[in-house]
């Protein structure tokens, strides 16, 4: 089965985002299907939070835990490494995706494996692990059902929690019939899942290496927590002889007790579940006398731009994220265009604020601008990341040089255009001079017949913005004269 993702989507020019977004927007079928899926997820989440005051207290606590953890991130990472090492886990540090892939490839080669089974891991998507493994002749097989479907289709996840949310059961039925040997077409969802399970069950037994992500890494005990629903995560982390966990450096918390409030909000915010079917607490490889578990265990801690966000007090808030996906479920833009249009591993609002650190602003500067700043994302974020504020901040960084004394972000100023700079300078010039502004409104109202009938973008679907015959100040002056 050659079904690895072989195309990379590292660079997404603005025109490309616009084109992809326009394509989805013009597709009523996709529009309806995303709307339906997001409505369902919003409803499920809302049902878990009937008491708004309680939710606020829970969010405050979760925010506090994440901010506290980040405030001592370097110490916690050292503590985590020490305790994991004590537990028999080898800890690796990767600054870039290439380094992460090289570390994992090296482990696979030492074990001479041709097959790796993977639990769901967005960080592995972020470093394009499957691509790197494929290039080295290793089959990296996704075992989360959604990820499996996306991999079979040679696509990327369109949502961080529900990777195949853009696909219908008919499409999945066609895909399975075409790509899974010996399978005939069926639209029966249970049958489809069983087909996937049968394939994967054999692979769990064959694979020498299992890979997983990490939801919370606990520094105090050297414990990795993994949240999942399908049991594939447990299979990946217990059946193969080698377990490699991969995660971002921001995932660490100090104490086990910090996990509980975060976990409770994660599952409720993500899928509207009070608790997931599986919650794996992994504290080292198989010990003497134990009957299962991997014989060898590794953790790869990935930076990939996170220290850039960490270095700035405001941008650091980006790293509070626990990857629940609620921001995308509630985002009116995501609902219209789905995840693929973004061209980034993480789509939606969180993707817009985290991707610039991972991929640089040259590739991503359009994304922070592709938001109405409606605030729905910030409102539902379980760890209270002020996403709209961060979008504005990144818009500023994308269109300006770094301020004196501030290190430039990667791709700083990449979105600068002479037109926009000129336009906003003009805006400031006009609107900070009241006399000139009055002259402008006087002219705009008297000569309103000269208003262009075509106004870039606006008039495709709207009537032109035309000044009134008399401005409010004119009306007030007239009223004054009448009195």
């Amino acid at each position: 089965m050659s079904n690895n993702t072989t195309h990379t989507l590292q660079f997404v020019p603005g025109t490309e985002f616009k084109r992809r977004a326009a394509e989805v927007v013009a597709n009523p079928f996709l529009r309806k299907s995303f709307r339906g899926a997001m409505d369902f997820l919003m409803m499920k989440r809302a049902a878990q939070f009937p008491d708004p005051e309680l939710l606020e207290r829970q969010r405050d606590l979760a925010e506090h835990i994440r901010r506290y953890s980040l405030s001592k991130l370097p110490q916690l990472l050292e503590q985590l490494e020490a305790n994991l090492t004590r537990n028999g886990v080898t800890v690796h540090w990767a600054e870039t995706p290439d380094e992460a892939n090289a570390i994992i490839l090296d482990i696979c080669r030492r074990h001479d494996t041709k097959l790796m089974v993977k639990g769901k891991s967005m960080v592995s998507e972020e470093v394009e692990l499957n691509h790197a493994m494929h290039a080295a002749g290793i089959d990296a097989l996704e075992s989360d059902m959604g990820e499996y479907i996306v991999q079979l289709a040679d696509e990327k996840p369109s949502h961080i929690i529900m990777p195949a949310i853009h696909k219908t059961k008919q499409q999945i039925a066609e895909l399975f019939a075409a790509k899974v040997p010996g399978v005939s077409y069926t639209e029966d969802v249970d049958a489809l899942i069983q087909i996937g399970r049968d394939v994967l069950r054999k692979k769990f037994m064959e694979a020498e290496v299992g890979l997983s992500g990490v939801n919370f890494a606990v520094a105090e005990t050297g414990t990795l927590c993994l949240v999942e629903n399908e049991g594939n995560g447990r299979m990946c982390t217990t059946v193969p002889n080698v377990h490699i966990a991969i995660t971002g450096i921001e995932k660490v918390v100090e104490k086990l007790e910090h996990v509980v409030p975060l976990y409770g909000l994660l599952t409720r915010s993500a899928t509207g579940q009070a608790i997931t079917t599986y919650f794996n607490v992994i504290t080292g490889p198989r010990r003497e006398g134990e009957k299962d578990g991997p014989k060898e265990m590794h953790l790869v801690l990935v930076d990939n731009g996170r220290t850039q966000a960490f270095a700035d007090e405001q941008l650091r808030q980006t790293l509070q994220c626990i990857r629940c996906g609620a921001c995308m479920n509630h985002c009116p833009v995501y609902t219209r265009i789905g995840g693929h249009a973004y061209g980034t591993t993480y789509p939606g609002p969180i993707g817009k604020i985290v991707s610039p650190h991972m991929m640089g602003l040259a590739a991503t500067h359009v994304l922070p601008g592709a938001s109405t700043l409606c605030g729905a994302c910030g409102e539902v974020c379980p760890v209270k990341i002020p996403i709209p504020d961060l979008l504005i901040r990144l818009r500023e960084e994308a269109t300006h040089d770094a301020k004196p004394g501030h290190a430039p972000l990667v791709g700083q100023g990449a979105g600068k255009t002479a037109f926009a700079s000129f336009a906003f300078k003009g805006f400031a010039f006009l609107y900070s001079r009241p006399a000139l502004y009055r002259l402008f409104t006087w002219t705009a109202t008297r000569f309103r017949f000269l208003t262009p009938a075509k106004q870039a973008g606006w008039t495709d679907t709207r009537t032109p913005l035309t000044p009134a015959a008399k401005s409010l100040r004119d009306l007030l002056a007239e009223r004054q004269n009448r009195r």
Binding site: A370, Y431, A456, R462, L472
Partner: protein
């Protein structure tokens, strides 16, 4: 976050900050808002030098340009009177973002903080400060209401418009699907991402119309122009109106000053 109104007394005078959109594109809404305030026995002062709150530049990442514009507005309100804004998003800009914008300058920051405290969105001021109790006039009407995202999430004023309409007695407010969802205006977003913006505006226009209301209302100039412009382009007879205008034309005028 609920604002504390306990210390806010009913004033004799208020400033009116019309916003650039209302001044130039829907001045009648501004006029109606002023008349509503005056009907309550309040003297309304319109600082001649007002221009724009600076939001378009601020949200686009041009903080310096926004500051240059905002600084002019900071100097417009010397007396300690409330500043009434007939638009949730511009009110939110002054109330929440001015203090951040001037964080680097102690004197201006103090001014921004003080101004932030006395900025009110129009419907908020009617409900929470003036505590009006209006009666509707004329025939029974069915309306739909779009509350702007800023009004909802920054000013918490989406409930005030609802409350005012509820007082009238002869107005039936019909709820539309995805009521809290953005209409897709987003200032420069509408021009930067016209396809997504148009899809959102179209969906919002559909949802409002599907209620079966005779018209829709909004207390935010930007949203109004976006949704109403979309309906106008479709040559739809279902159209929008600024909430201030609707209230002025559909409430009993007792107590109006001679």
């Amino acid at each position: 976050m609920e604002r504390d109104y306990s210390a806010v007394r009913r004033p004799d005078d208020v400033y009116f900050f019309a916003t650039c959109l209302v001044d130039l594109f829907c001045p009648e809404a501004g006029m109606d808002a002023i008349q509503l305030l005056e009907r309550e026995g309040i003297r309304v002062h319109f600082p001649e030098d007002q221009t724009c709150c600076g939001q378009p530049a601020y949200t686009s990442g041009y903080a310096d340009e926004a500051r240059a514009v905002a600084k002019v507005q900071l100097g417009l309100f010397p007396n300690d009177w409330p500043v009434i804004v007939p638009s949730g998003s511009c009110g939110g800009m002054i109330r929440h973002h001015y203090p951040k914008l001037f964080a680097g300058d102690a004197a201006l920051k103090a001014k921004a903080d003080a101004l932030s405290e006395r900025v009110f969105e129009l419907t908020e001021f009617f409900v929470k400060v003036l505590k009006v109790n209006w009666k509707g006039s004329g025939a029974t009407k069915k309306v739909a209401l779009h509350t702007s995202c800023s009004a909802r999430r920054e000013m918490g004023t989406h409930l005030h418009a609802r409350e005012l309409l509820g007082q009238l007695g002869n107005v039936e407010l019909l709820n539309h699907s995805h009521e809290s969802e953005c209409c897709g205006f987003g200032g420069t977003f509408a021009v930067r991402q016209p396809d997504i913006s148009a899809a959102m505006a179209g969906d919002k226009a559909d949802a409002l119309k599907e209620t079966g209301a005779e018209q829709f209302l909004s207390a935010d100039g930007g949203c109004l122009m976006n949704i109403d412009g979309t309906l106008a382009k479709r040559r739809d007879s279902f159209r929008g109106q600024h909430l201030a205008s609707f209230l002025w034309h559909n409430t009993e005028r007792q107590g109006e000053k001679a």
